[in-house]
Symmetry: C2
């Protein structure tokens, strides 16, 4: 049987996804994951004919999938979700009919809130990487901070207190959007899980994996435990984090 190949980023935790990409390919669709080191990403994408993702200065990014049953190569997690919804209509649909535009707009609005997360998660990711990826990661990520060493980016002391509150407020913006469906709204669309939830959970999973116990437990207390519940609920859906 021909199964989808999901290309993901390798780490010192073999077999575990850590990058904040979608886990949709893990949900009911047979696939195998191939973990790559950062310097392998661009050559592989060019070989596969995967489109560069232009949102950042990093031209080629993962996840990318290759589906031998259609010979399709798809990059960018939201586009992968759309592709899988369209190609495998009998699996749970993550971008419900009529919500694709909203999902793309949401992704921009949500990611615009995340700079306070990146000052924590990017530096903390460095030790998770194999040596084959560390130089590439350091060079490209330090460029995002005007050349500051990643070790110097994470706020400490009073600066940490301020930034950590900013991060809580950033997730508070998303919590506020979800509450607009009604005070007891569990997911981004109310009772129905969608790609927006998976996307938020992907970023949270990254925080969980790299930030350490104290910071993660702090996050779990935010917004009446919304993020703790989300991570727990998603376990039920067999989405492997």
């Amino acid at each position: 049987m021909s199964i989808i190949t999901l290309y993901d980023i390798a780490s010192t935790h073999p077999g575990q996804a850590w990058s904040p990409n979608t886990a949709k390919a893990r949900q009911g669709i047979p696939h195998k994951t191939v973990f790559l080191e950062y310097p392998e990403i661009e050559p592989l994408c060019k070989k596969l004919g995967a489109k560069p993702t232009s949102q950042t200065s990093l031209q080629y990014t993962l996840p990318v999938i290759y589906d031998p049953s259609t010979d399709a190569v798809v990059s960018n997690s939201i586009e992968i979700a759309q592709y899988l919804d369209a190609t495998y209509p009998n699996t749970p649909r993550l971008i419900p009919e009529g919500t694709a535009a909203f999902h793309y707009a949401f992704t921009e609005a949500f990611e615009a809130t995340l700079p306070p997360l990146l000052v924590y998660t990017l530096p903390a990711s460095l030790p998770f990487l194999n040596s084959a990826s560390q130089d590439y990661f350091r060079r490209t990520r330090e460029e995002l901070f005007g050349g500051r060493r990643l070790e110097d980016v994470t706020p400490t002391g009073d600066e940490h207190a301020v930034m950590w509150k900013r991060l809580e407020d950033a997730f508070g913006t998303t919590d506020g959007w979800i509450r607009k469906n009604g005070a007891d709204s569990k997911y981004f669309m109310g009772d129905t899980l969608c790609y927006a939830d998976i996307s938020v959970a992907g970023w949270l999973r990254w925080a969980k994996m790299v930030l350490g116990k104290d910071k993660w437990e702090s996050i779990l207390t935010w917004h009446d435990g919304r993020w703790a519940s989300l991570m727990k609920e998603l376990e039920k859906y067999n989405i492997v984090f």
Copy 2:
């Protein structure tokens, strides 16, 4: 019969709405419009008990509605749309079930693209205002541009060419989102009109009213005529622009 009062901003065009707020209250729900001058907004909101809208430094903004049948006072156009959807379920629903969070996230993502519009529409709005509003408008809007005179804000010459392209690209972002529903997607949710469309049209209506014929006709050519079609389609829905 008790009908809703919609408070809107007065201009030199009596009886015409020009501000980029929602036109939902005009759609099938009996209402009367009361036009206010800018300095009257805050005192009226305080008298009605309308909430300040905190998105900008302008604490109290219109639209605000007062509904005598429920004694409700609602400010902020998206909240008015939610209120009317909930209170008058037999009128066309503009924020479909499960899309409230998406509508709020969309509003942030869309408005984040609009600075290139404001450098044209804010200065061009000044001559539309009655003298009772002009000083207030000039003072508060010039603050947004670091105290520059509104007359000096609008780009000219080469700077105009660059900024006008940036404005086209800004609407191109929204066009790109809509196309994610499918290449022939007419509205933000595909075939179904929703508040997101009305909101985009409200901003376009503002441009149409204040920018003059040449600029408006330029906009109508953008993105395969999407905005021309949107404005035309909305006429069918008896939304008065």
